[in-house]
């Protein structure tokens, strides 16, 4: 079964989403990430969505879920690289993504994670 690769970078996990995910793939990613956070004792998760040109409510919920689950596991999540058109559409959709921290790119996201003591 295809999976989204999860890379380890020190104490953080980096997920780069580059494909248009179908729902099952998104759910698998959620599971995989949760397992890896525990297995690698990760303190932070960086989700790079700079290649996504559509984020609908399902993916939006996936992002919120990942952030919430990470928090429970004492890890911080930062979502980076959201495209302007996607941001505008999400706001119009009324999707909050509250509690999800964001940054412009992986570099900034990393800095954010390190700053917040992760």
């Amino acid at each position: 079964m295809e999976r989204i690769p999860i890379l380890r970078m020190g104490r953080f996990l980096l997920v780069t989403i580059q494909v248009d995910m179908h729902d099952q793939l998104a759910l698998t990613l959620q599971d995989d990430l949760t397992q890896r956070i525990v297995a690698d004792r990760a303190r932070g998760v960086l989700m790079d969505i700079s290649s996504l040109d559509v984020v609908d409510s399902f993916i939006g919920r996936m992002i919120s879920n990942i952030a919430a689950m990470s928090r429970v596991l004492d890890a911080q999540t930062v979502v980076v690289g959201m495209q302007p058109a996607v941001a505008i559409t999400l706001v119009e959709l009324g999707l909050d993504l509250a509690g999800v921290r964001t940054a412009l790119n992986v570099e900034r996201g990393m800095a954010l994670l390190q700053q917040s003591g992760a």
Binding site: D20, D23, V54, G60
Partner: protein
């Protein structure tokens, strides 16, 4: 004399049975949105709306079809998407249209969100018969 006759320029049908079909739907809608000449933001809006309704068709409607049509209305061009399924239908449409994404008792179909992304939005549903949703986005001047 009716000047504004909506004419169909090009129309295709897509089967919506599983998650992969929704991915295919997004790509198909994107391709047609580009053909109509929508700006990137407007493309994203209609593709996202299609994704929302398409997913509903698969998950709550038990599968169905999507019809994609490039339409013209006088001198304007637009994209019309029609989704239909023979699923359980929605009992309280008014309520469903009000619900956001945080379900809290509602179906959480995200209909109100999808509606905001379109210029025209129409939904017909009958319990036990199925649901029909029609969305249109016009390319602005």
């Amino acid at each position: 004399m009716a000047i504004d006759v909506q004419r169909v320029e090009r129309s295709d049908e897509l089967a919506l049975k599983g998650g992969e079909d929704v991915v295919r739907l997004r790509q198909a809608v994107r391709e047609r949105a580009v053909a109509v000449g929508f700006s990137l933001v407007d493309q994203t809006k209609i593709v996202t709306a299609a994704s929302e309704i398409g997913r509903n068709t698969v998950q709550y409607g038990g599968g169905g079809t999507a019809r994609l049509a490039i339409v013209t209305n006088g001198t304007r061009r637009g994209l019309r998407l029609e989704f239909s399924d023979n699923g359980p239908g929605i009992a309280d449409l008014a309520q469903a249209l009000q619900d956001g994404f945080t379900t809290g008792g509602g179906l959480g179909l995200g209909l109100s969100g999808a509606k905001r992304l379109c210029d025209e939005f129409d939904i017909q549903s009958e319990v036990g018969r199925g649901t029909r949703v029609s969305l249109v986005r016009w390319k602005p001047y």
